[in-house]
């Protein structure tokens, strides 16, 4: 609870985000074939795979498919992801979210193949037969514009970075009073988007540190990867969409009171307090 007489304060800056290095590569991905009899429950996610991956059915149980060039993201700690179709696009930027499948390296004769992967099966009792993630892809330049400036002109780059930190501390729209209005506001929009993207990653990592088990009902970043071009934020995939979609699906655009309470509880606080005693 805030006290009325305390003066307002600037928001403390976020810690810089921690990114691990990765690279995009091509390779082979083996996926279970839905046409065999024992494919069974795998069929559902097969459809999801084929929607983005141009795979045809074949008589063998496991089919070797070449990925489209560069569709595999290899990150540190042997984590690899198969990038699939876009699921969102934000109009104000070049950001988009792709569906992805975590991959594991194929072992052949006891030896791990470095350029062949297979999709990971989900744990027993999971909603989907395969593990699925959402991968938010943002251009590196957009998340770290000051780094780019550094490369071009080192001294000036440092100055700009100082300016960015100052901006993070307080209000950011003073620029508009400047006579070079159009140029500055364009730059400040760029800085604002960059700061938002960077802050989001920092915030996600702050939450992950405080809530390592992921019970907190905030969508977490499992891993944040960068290559030369892009920054990839890997998050759980939420197939059911947004709460807004849920409301739109209802003919009246409303939820039953008990439904609403359930989701409201998730948004706010406690699913149940099961620690008795």
């Amino acid at each position: 609870m805030v006290r009325a007489h305390d003066p307002p304060a600037p928001s403390p800056p976020f810690d810089p985000p921690k990114l691990c290095d990765g690279r995009r590569t091509a390779g082979h991905v083996q996926v279970p074939d839905p046409t065999t009899e024992d494919a069974g429950p795998l069929e559902m996610s097969w459809k999801a795979v084929s929607a983005g991956a141009l795979v045809e059915p074949s008589p063998t149980k496991l089919r070797r498919t070449s990925s489209i060039a560069g569709n595999i993201l290899v990150a540190a700690e042997k984590k690899s992801y198969w990038l699939q179709r876009k699921i969102t696009e934000e109009s104000h930027s070049h950001n988009y979210v792709r569906i992805g499948f975590p991959l594991q390296n194929v072992t052949m004769d006891g030896e791990e193949m470095s350029n062949a992967w297979t999709v990971c099966k989900a744990e027993e009792g999971s909603m989907y037969p395969f593990e699925m993630v959402a991968i938010k892809v943002q251009s590196h330049r957009q998340v770290f514009p000051e780094d780019e400036d550094d490369e071009e002109e080192e001294e000036e780059g440092e100055e700009k970075e100082g300016g960015a930190n100052k901006q993070e501390g307080g209000d950011d729209d003073n620029d508009n009073s400047n006579s070079q209005l159009s140029y500055i506001s364009d730059a400040s929009v760029r800085m604002t988007i960059a700061r938002n993207a960077k802050n989001e990653i920092s915030a996600l990592q702050l939450i992950k540190a405080a809530d390592p088990d992921g019970n907190g009902n905030v969508l977490r970043a499992e891993l944040v990867v960068q290559d030369m071009v892009d920054v990839y934020v890997i998050m759980p995939y939420c197939k059911e969409g947004t709460l807004m979609d849920m409301l739109s699906a209802d003919s009246n655009g409303r939820l039953e009171e008990t439904e609403a309470r359930k989701y409201f509880r998730h948004v706010l606080n406690v699913r149940f307090s099961a620690c008795i005693g």
């Binding site: 805030v2 209000d171 809530d211 009902n217």
Partner: protein, 191 residues
């Protein structure tokens, strides 16, 4: 069955997941002293049967004084896509309590979930008659009754829900319920 017994039943049927506290959503954010600032129905994702808050791009760290008191934030540029989710004090460019603006947005979300868009005001400004009625004068019940008289297929929303909504949608952030007060509200706690 008392609430205690209900909980106990749950523990018995879900032994693996139950013996933990499931902290969620806003509580998680407040634990790490973040305010989201862009909470809306579009920014809550559903996986299976569980919601997750997403889109933290506009979140801010909440300043805390040396003695651990949460401080108000300096006015920031107004942000967010939909004006009704923006708390009135943010709209007026005043210093604001980061947690209170998130609870405002949560109240707007609940209002949308229960009534659809029809009861909602369109912007948190005194010129908006519905905002004036609901958030300044506190006449949500009257607005809802008027709405329900028009719509015949609408199931009545309980008085407890309307009471909670009214307490969350107060123009003055000092009168608004805090997160722990919402948790203690009968509608949230029971049923």
């Amino acid at each position: 069955m008392t609430r205690m017994e209900k909980r106990y039943t749950f523990v018995m049927t879900h032994p693996l997941t139950a013996p933990r506290w499931f902290l969620q959503g806003l509580k998680t954010l407040q634990k790490v002293k973040l305010c989201h600032r862009n909470l809306s129905l579009e920014n809550v994702l559903i996986r299976g049967d569980v919601c997750y808050i997403s889109s933290l791009g506009l979140s801010l760290r909440v300043p805390v004084s040396e003695d651990g008191t949460v401080l108000k934030l300096m006015p920031q540029a107004v942000c967010g896509k939909k004006p009704e989710y923006i708390a009135p004090e943010v709209f007026q460019n005043e210093p604001f309590d980061g947690y209170a603006v998130d609870l405002w947005a949560a109240g707007v979300m609940l209002c949308q979930m229960l009534f659809g868009g029809d009861v909602m005001f369109s912007a948190p400004i005194p010129e908006d008659p519905k905002f004036q009625e609901i958030c300044i004068h506190g006449h949500l019940k009257a607005v809802v009754d008027k709405f329900q008289a028009l719509v015949t297929d609408q199931k009545a929303v309980s008085d407890a829900a309307i009471d909670l909504l009214q307490r969350m949608l107060r123009a003055d952030p000092a009168e608004r319920l805090t997160l722990s007060e919402v948790q203690e509200h009968p509608w949230f706690k029971d049923g």
